[in-house]
Symmetry: C2
Subunit: 693 residues, 2 copies
Amino acid sequence: YLVKRKFHDSWWKCAPQCRSVLPALAVVLIQAAWVSAEDGGGGGGMEELATEKEAEESHRQDSVSLLTFILLLTLTILTIWLFKHRRVRFLHETGLAMIYGLLVGVILRYGIPSTSYHNKTPPSCSLKEGPVSTLLLNVSGKFFEYTLKGEINSREIHNVEQNDMLRKVTFDPEVFFNILLPPIIFHAGYSLKKRHFFRNLGSILTYAFLGTAISCFVIGNLMYGVVKLMQVVGQLTDKFYYTDCLFFGAIISATDPVTVLAIFNELHADVDLYALLFGESVMNDAVAIVLSSSIVAYQPAGVNTHTFDASAFFKSVGIFLGIFSGSFAMGAVTGVVTALISFQYILHCFPLLETALFFLMSWSTFLLAEACGFTGVVAVLFCGITQAHYTYNNLSEESTKRTKQLFEVLHFLAENFIFSYMGLALFTFQNHVFSPIFIVGAFIAIFIGRASNIYPLSFLLNLGRRHKIGGNFQHMMMFAGLRGAMAFALAIRDTATYARQMMFTTTLLIVFFTVWVFGGGTTPMLSWLHIRVGVDPDQDLQPCGDSFQSKTKQESAWLFRLWYTFDHNYLKPILTHSGPPLTTTLPVCCGPLAHCLTSPQAYENSEQLRDADSDLILTDGDLTLTYGDTAITANGASSSSGPKGLNGKRNGSTSEEALERELDTREQELLSRGTRLVFPIEDHDINARGGKP
Amino acid sequence: YLVKRKFHDSWWKCAPQCRSVLPALAVVLIQAAWVSAEDGGGGGGMEELATEKEAEESHRQDSVSLLTFILLLTLTILTIWLFKHRRVRFLHETGLAMIYGLLVGVILRYGIPSTSYHNKTPPSCSLKEGPVSTLLLNVSGKFFEYTLKGEINSREIHNVEQNDMLRKVTFDPEVFFNILLPPIIFHAGYSLKKRHFFRNLGSILTYAFLGTAISCFVIGNLMYGVVKLMQVVGQLTDKFYYTDCLFFGAIISATDPVTVLAIFNELHADVDLYALLFGESVMNDAVAIVLSSSIVAYQPAGVNTHTFDASAFFKSVGIFLGIFSGSFAMGAVTGVVTALISFQYILHCFPLLETALFFLMSWSTFLLAEACGFTGVVAVLFCGITQAHYTYNNLSEESTKRTKQLFEVLHFLAENFIFSYMGLALFTFQNHVFSPIFIVGAFIAIFIGRASNIYPLSFLLNLGRRHKIGGNFQHMMMFAGLRGAMAFALAIRDTATYARQMMFTTTLLIVFFTVWVFGGGTTPMLSWLHIRVGVDPDQDLQPCGDSFQSKTKQESAWLFRLWYTFDHNYLKPILTHSGPPLTTTLPVCCGPLAHCLTSPQAYENSEQLRDADSDLILTDGDLTLTYGDTAITANGASSSSGPKGLNGKRNGSTSEEALERELDTREQELLSRGTRLVFPIEDHDINARGGKP
């Protein structure tokens, strides 16, 4: 009661001051922008200005533009806090970040006087040779070095650096791919709830690979129809090829239901639906990114480069498979190397070194993949999954916390940065091509594309699954087809041609619409579809019916079972301090080798392992018994079987469950804290929605 | 015993494999470099190559170069672990990072075949106008945008992009100032042990301001002599002005005894000597950076721009004071704003939001200062101190940990990155100017400069201090005059002229020498100078003699005492949840205002505060009594007076002590763990050194 009282007090005291903080920040922002614009004006006006001074000016403007984003993020955090506090669910932090981005974009666009002297075309010079990466400029005997930024369209020459501030807040698109996406994707892989993910692996992979491909081709073909229509109507002013349409299909097929998943998390919605949605969205990002680059690589031989060419098509398919498997292998290998290093080097006494090593190795995955011509983002995803599976078991307790928190913060900042940039880009991006027909067509196409992904595939999967994906789950998956960071990053990567610009504008609008409308409608939709909320994540493990047992049996197909056995018996013991000792799993002839590779801890763990891991797969017949046993373990340490509790914190194989359990309990804690906090008016809310089973 | 046994086992098993990991990493590195060089060769050879492909190639090379650094850091971490494990103290991680950097530099320099076709001069074109930030290049109708990189010396035109890989591993110098230095400096401010820092504040400020100025002018004048000598001998091939010499004096006066402090920490050397050294190094970084920019700004009017001009000199002094106080104010204000926000918004339920907010606000300090033309690094330093003083008290327990760990990792990575880059730069930097006379002169000059800083000032300070700075302390401070990241960053910032290049080369060599030789000699030096080690950081609080009491009285000069009272009575209550309630400290007439600003927690804390804070300053007479009382508190919660223990984790004002105490205990833990770990041969080591009081 005391805590509540204090909170209440300080909240009421706070309220007026909060309201004064927000406008104050806005004022600072606007002033900073003004100062910058004026400075830019003063700096550019005098031609005799020294290079040094100009560079300094440019640096100052960089600072201002970065500051703009940081203040945006600060504002977003403060408002999110208000929302979380009041348990507002119709607007997620990403949606909010976009709104603030939009507002600042409007201010920058219309609030700052156009610095007209910059409206002229920059000086140009001619060269016979092709573009070089470095160019020297000779100004009366002094030499200046210039670096290539990129080709620009001849239409846009006059638009170059129209407004200093607008130009400064426009980042190099590669920033998204190389700096902002990796932490987001890695975090997704690292925080994957493996148990539920692996149980639904078959369905997830079907949706991700087959589904994304279907969606891509359906959308691509529909959009080609729309483009043809535009040609007939005369709305199309430049070229727009079939491959462009397919490319659009690929980039817009990457779903990102971050808003939906946040609400699922908060309300504890059905874990299997969560696993399906999360798994699909993580994997289809990877598929979409590789798919789009293989479409770009599709270049038919011969004169007419826009007819169908079978050999080029198969080459593209080959590129897809090559890049995907290469990136997958790269990520997995780095993960395994990290596990090996963290296994061999006992860094437990130095959590700082451990965390730094973990961070560096995960980052190097990205760079290594990029250096080898694979896709870093995809590699990072699989690296994250591998790290969570193996390395996580080798880290000290302190480091597991640190790594999780580090990537949580990075992910949070990167995600909100991207979304606020999206809001900003609607007004600050210079080359928007708004085409109403294309936009309406795209909205219809993504709807049809999503439908032809979910419904037919669910039907096919239900033929094989004994625990069917219900109609309400299918509708929810259909509804949760939000587009987000990945679609945006793919769209902004190349905006050189007319077609790409039109796609970029359309993608932006689709992201806005889906995040705000579908994201905001998640809670009503959940109750409308009668999807149960307030589920204990571990509850499904209890023998409360036969559905989950049979499902596990169903999902644990022979291939998966084979892999699992291999992983459990050989990989885990070699790479982590958990798993059964190799001496028991390897044939007798390999005795000395097994002895040398097994860590002493493994012997101690050997007894408990069968219990702890068995919830993932069942190798023996007595289903009910094993399940009942594990359920108790997973639900808390209350009555765990075996000497599990004795071993203390470094209890090998259970730590991966501990990760999930901790995440779960933290969420639960959040929820229960949220319930405790003030505002009793809104408290019945969760019961009303959660009551429907 | 079990833990020890396991550790031993896995260590011996590990040893051969460790040795195989390191060379494997090196091989990967070299191969990556080769691949990149070859790719670069293929890409540059064909002139008809599309821009897109060239950009892709460039991106790949960027990845490889970053990967090089990440593998370097990984190697460093693994080796540091070995060193820490074996308790090797003669080589610190930064020294190690430099060695690895040197090795990789040699490989890149001599291991990769010179890509000869790049040895040609890049194409140049002429313009009548001055340099512009954006240039267009017209290649047969296609336009390419180029951005200004900087002026280059006409001598160096032929050196531009001699070797693709070398060019790629050379970062923009501003990276150091804008990305790598801020987290290092912020961490220094945030982790400052405030109690000991404030007690020695007078001495620290004297060394930092007066000492750095003395050192700068002594070194500058000596180097001017050296330069004149070089002119006589005929070794000087280009201009070298007096201001250049002063500039060199400023950049080389920034000490960075990171190695020494790490050893002090590990061995628990005298806390006051630690506070003096750490405080001085933190503050003189700020002084050196502002000093160097005011020297650059010194531009006499009239024709002969290199004679003394009083007005220009005073302008420089004005600039120094302006930038310094501006940056100071900026940092303090952002810190206070963050404290206010974290005070008003109770974000405790959402540590992620809290941490993100803290990070963003601290970063925005840097950007705000840069945007306003102040020095971001200096602002960040004072922001860190303010955050530790106020905001830290408002954060939840979870967030205090998170922020500390986040900045610890960032600081660790940034510092080691800079040092490995230094190693690399010795071989990869293109424009070294090795001048033996200048280098020898510089070594002598920094020695004399340091001596004329420490000894005279210590003499003057000892006149005022009742607890004298002993001769051995002075020698140790003299010895600990290492140069590090700041000197390097200042030197590399501008390497356009001949004089600056010579300075850069010399600075690099000085950093190498001091880090390796002085850093490595710290432990022998400590025992040689009979400086006591193994001191409990809180021990000095016990009434074990009159020295500390009188020192506290001495250091707590009236100005400081005034500020402290103001801070304690007004600022702390307004900005944090600690401090006495304002109702008791404000005059009666301000009653309503005071009531409205005081948080309910403050009333509860009011009783305990006098005890908890009083170790910082003494406002009443009975020194011994109060001290004894606090000492018990600070040494642990064993027998704390008052109801302190009851209030639980959010116990306001004690949390700042808790920060220090936690840092201390962690170090102690590390030490004791280190002692427990294996290798009994080396265990007597610490006693041998620590035994001398």
